[in-house]
């Protein structure tokens, strides 16, 4: 089971390499502003995810107009993708079970 913040960070990085603030913005956009990661939560999660090998820091810089020299960019690893997939399956299963008991909408 992944912590919520970790899962969201993986989702944000699944699409593209991003720096910290971009991750925060992506999560906020996807959740309709419901989840706003704080800087501390973000980097504490990043530190653990780096240790666990779910993400890596990337040396490839994006297009120069978006680049900010001081920024660090993170990229999801195959382990990260696998972990996110596994978590998604777990959540889907939970929702299926809830639906079987009439506790969730018919369509996710």
């Amino acid at each position: 089971m992944l912590p919520t913040a970790t899962f969201h960070i993986l989702l944000a990085l699944a699409e593209d390499d991003r720096h910290g603030y971009a991750i925060i913005q992506d999560v906020a956009a996807r959740t309709g502003g419901e989840l706003k990661l704080s800087a501390g939560t973000l980097y504490r999660s990043i530190q653990r995810m780096l240790e666990q090998g779910l993400i890596v820091e990337t040396r490839d810089r994006p297009a120069p107009e978006d680049d900010d020299e001081r920024r660090r960019y993170y990229r999801i690893t195959p382990e990260g993708t696998a972990a996110a997939r596994e978590e998604a399956r777990r959540l889907a299963q939970l929702v299926r079970m809830a639906r079987a008991r009439g506790l969730a909408p018919r369509k996710a």
């Binding site: 720096h19 603030y21 800087a39 501390g40 980097y43 530190q47 900010d68």
Partner: protein, 873 residues
């Protein structure tokens, strides 16, 4: 921009809450994120929301990040410790001993000296005493009490009391209970309330008032089964009727922890006549805002007034006001302070030992640490890791230490003076736990600091290049200093324990003046007024003594007012020679004791000249006979020998007395007190209803069998003669003598245990240091051997090192021990702090310890094989 820069500085400050490793890694990123969020926030409201959110967020996440690091470090530490279980166990045990010893002593010290008394607002409670040359704390006479306290400007309230024993009937077996007669003001002064019923009121205090009494919780439980209907019940106390009016709460003990009941202190005008009858103790509550200094000044003024008013009776009488909490005797205080010092020494040694262990390990782990540093662990991370390790060891040791303290505290119970108004015994409670926790923290930091300073400071790549050969030179100076400190502390403890042991031996070998073995003593109550008449008492003595003497194994028996070394250690009376007036200030007094014939033979007190009192010494035969002690002769007729004083007269206890015999001195007040002049009078030669308190009530029986086994038959005899008479204080004289040295032996046991722990730890310290040095210098030794060094050279190298350590520790140790001995001279019973035997023994033991500690490393050094040692290079 200026404002933005200011806000970023504030944010930087906030970031400082994070561990620096985390901050170095992500601080810049977090700053950028914050800067963007700040730019996006428009309007005062959202700026404030942003800041509040940020502060909360930083606080929460920083704690989590610290937790992550701690978990990481602790996990690493546990893995490392599991690889070296010997080290881990040694370290934990050392901490446990150090913290256990200190915590146990603290719990007792806190209980006796620091904790406030169990009364509301105890800082305002004081005791008032009379002071005369020779007596610092003399009980008050009723008249002086009244003159000094009536309408007082300094006391909100003041009450008086007088401790006394009484015989209680009406609750099963007749019972001799200890308690106090108290004035109606006393309990309100202390600020206590009854559990049941009421306290005394002023009408209870008048002479002739109906008898009332208040029960202690304990007596209520044990004798009345905790029955609430006990209030109102009538009991017989010394054959007088008393109605129970109240029961006090469980934790109320006053004046001492063994008090069981309280009666009113009843007065009439007659009691205020004699100003030299000092028998009242008093407790006062100072008015709010009145300091003890003001109270002293005020009382001294009143005492001076009394001196002018009654120049004869109150000559030299002044007043002293002492905080109630300071009533603990100086000796108890000194003893506890000494024990705290000793415990501190043990803790110091434990810390030094651990610092050394960790230092040795850290030096051994230099390569590992260097690798970690090379892999990017910053200095702060390394220090953090090392501190986590020592704090973790300290924490495990601390937990064990608290368990050690828990089991040790009951053994220290004897160090709590029973004269304190405290209900409970010291226990390891929250206060003590907090102390132990603080101690553990300090300990962990103290012994963790050494390796941190040593290794954390030089975590560079040097450790990688250099092989593990880092034995000699300045690197070991810190470790040697720690070992020397251990030796110093252990020498101090050894000498202190040695001095106390000598003191105990001195006291135990003191001749008490009687032969204690084979004597049973007990008290028969003989209450007033039934036993007020001499003839009634004599009939009782005659029947009891003749039956007791007929018991198998009994060789003699006799009665006396109070046994030596018993609960009542005083009882003095002025002595007047040749009709001259008594000079009380000059201490012209002697102990007064009434005896039956045969008492001296029973205790084995030698007759030096003349004769014992005898049956014929009765009330009609004047002048009354007196047997005096040698010290009496020395004091009052210093030029004459013991035989020539027979037939002399002196006035004592209202009568002319004729010296008929001289006996050896008895140490009435204790083995450590000199024998004061003593006068023994015939139990028959006293008018009826006079000085009832001194009527012989204490029976002594000498037997050739086990004395304690006699108790049931003697109880049976007393019951036959008077079934209502309680028997109490059944004990052997030998136990009384032991009791006199009990606190001394307890204190010696504690200090001795500390000395042994210190001694062993210091030995371990020496062993550890030398073992490490030898293993680190194995190559050097190998080279030396290869170059032709003999076994002798190697031996002198290691042994010389050890000798230098020992000398460096022993010499200052002896000096400090001497100073410590001077400080506790009052506990030494005349043994000199510079006692040569003790010093020599301590030095000898320290040398033996150093030798034992260096034995294994020396052997190992001798066994170094030059080929193997060189090959590892």
């Amino acid at each position: 921009m200026g404002e933005g820069a200011f806000e970023m500085r504030v944010y930087d400050l906030l970031l400082r809450v994070y561990p620096s490793s985390f901050r170095n890694e992500y601080g810049g990123e977090m700053r950028a994120v914050f800067a963007r969020s700040r730019r996006d926030a428009v309007g005062a409201g959202s700026i404030v929301t942003l800041w509040l959110g940020t502060i909360a967020e930083v606080a929460g996440n920083a704690a989590l990040v610290h937790g992550d690091l701690l978990r990481q470090d602790a996990g690493y530490t546990l893995r490392v410790l599991r690889r070296t279980p010997g080290f881990a166990i040694t370290a934990v045990l050392i901490v446990a001993l150090g913290i256990g010893a200190t915590t146990a002593v603290f719990s007792v010290t806190d209980f006796v000296l620091i904790r406030p008394l169990p009364f509301p607002d105890p800082s305002r409670l004081v005791k008032v005493w009379e002071r005369t040359p020779g007596y610092n704390r003399l009980e008050l006479s009723a008249a002086n009490y009244r003159d000094w306290t009536e309408g007082s400007a300094v006391f909100e309230r003041i009450g008086m009391y007088h401790a006394a024993a009484a015989n209680l009937l009406g609750a099963g077996e007749p019972l001799n209970v200890f308690g106090a007669a108290v004035s109606a003001d006393l309990f309100p002064t202390l600020g206590v309330r009854p559990l049941l019923g009421r306290l005394f009121v002023e009408t209870d205090d008048r002479k002739g008032a109906a008898g009332t009494l208040i029960l202690s919780y304990r007596l209520w439980q044990t004798q009345f089964g905790g029955d609430p209907a006990v209030v109102g019940r009538e009991l017989l106390l010394d054959s007088e009727k008393f109605a129970v009016v109240g029961v006090m709460p469980r934790e109320f003990r006053f004046p001492s922890s063994d008090a069981q009941l309280w009666t009113p202190l009843r007065f009439d005008e007659q009691d205020y006549v004699d100003r030299n009858n000092n028998w009242l103790e008093s407790v006062g509550r100072l008015r709010r805002g009145v300091t003890i200094v003001q109270a002293r000044a005020r009382l001294e003024l009143l005492a001076a007034q009394s001196r002018r008013q009654y120049p004869k009776e109150n000559a030299d009488v002044s007043a002293s006001v002492i905080r109630f909490s300071d009533e603990v005797s100086n000796q108890s205080r000194l003893l506890l302070v000494a024990l705290c010092g000793a415990a501190g020494c043990v803790l110091l040694i434990a810390c030094a030992n651990l610092a050394n262990l960790l230092l040795a390990r850290a030096l051994g782990r230099r390569r590992e640490l260097a690798v970690r540093a090379a892999m990017g662990a910053g200095r702060e991370r390394m220090i953090r890791q090392l501190m986590t390790e020592s704090l973790l060891l300290a924490a495990i040791g601390g937990i064990l230490g608290v368990l050690v303290a828990r089991s040790a505290v009951p053994l220290l119970n004897r160090l709590v003076p029973s004269t304190l108004p405290l209900a409970t015994a010291p226990v390891v409670d929250l206060r003590v736990l907090l102390f132990a926790m603080a101690l553990t923290g300090v300990t962990g930091v103290a012994f963790g600091l050494a390796p941190v300073l040593r290794v954390g400071g030089e975590a560079d790549l040097g450790g990688l290049r250099e092989s593990a050969r880092i034995g000699g030179g300045s690197r070991e100076r810190l470790r040697s200093m720690l070992v020397v400190a251990e030796i110093v502390a252990s020498v101090v403890l050894l000498v202190s324990a040695g001095l106390l042991l000598r003191a105990l031996w001195t006291v135990q070998s003191t001749d008490p003046g009687f032969r204690a073995e084979g004597v049973l003593t007990l008290r028969t109550a003989l209450p007033y007024p039934q036993y007020g008449r001499v003839a009634t008492r004599e009939a009782f003595y005659r029947r009891v003594l003749s039956d007791v003497r007929a018991l198998p194994g009994v060789t003699s028996a006799g009665y006396i007012s109070f046994q030596p070394l018993g609960r009542m250690r005083g009882g003095i009376w002025p002595v007047s020679l040749d009709g001259r007036p008594v000079n009380v200030a000059d201490h012209q007094v002697a102990f007064i004791r009434y005896v039956t014939p045969g008492y001296f033979a029973t205790l084995g007190i030698p007759m030096k000249s003349g004769r014992d009192v005898r049956e014929a010494d009765d009330v009609d035969r004047k002048p009354y006979a007196a047997v005096v002690s040698e010290s009496f002769v020395r004091r009052y007729w210093p030029k004459d020998d013991l035989a020539s004083v027979l037939g002399r007269h002196f006035t004592f206890a209202y009568e002319d007395r004729l010296v008929v015999g001289v006996v050896g001195d008895v140490r009435m007040r204790g083995l450590e007190r000199d024998a004061e002049p003593q006068v023994y009078l015939s139990s028959k030669q006293v008018p009826d209803n006079w000085i009832i308190g001194y009527a012989p009530r204490s029976l002594a029986v000498r037997t050739t069998t086990t004395p304690a086994a006699l108790a049931p038959s003697i109880r049976a005899i007393v019951r036959r003669v008077d079934p209502t008479l309680p028997v109490s204080d059944v004990t052997t004289l030998a136990d009384l003598v032991d009791g006199d040295t009990a606190s001394r032996s307890a204190q010696l046991r504690v200090l001795g245990a500390f000395a042994v722990i210190a001694f062993v730890l210091a030995g371990i310290g020496i062993h550890g240091l030398l073992s490490f040095a030898v293993s680190q210098r194995a190559q050097e030794i190998g080279v030396r051997v290869a170059l032709g060094a003999t076994r002798r050279d190697i031996l002198s190298m290691v042994v010389g090192r050890c000798a230098r350590l020992a000398a460096a520790g022993v010499i200052p140790g002896i000096a400090i021990a001497y100073v410590a001995g001077r400080e506790m001279e009052a506990l030494l019973a005349g043994v000199r702090p510079a006692d040569a035997t003790t010093m020599a023994a301590a030095v000898g033991l320290s040398i033996a310890m150093a030798a034992a500690g260096s034995l294994v490393p020396t052997l190992r050094a001798l066994r170094v094989d030059p080929m193997t040692a060189l090959r590892t290079e």
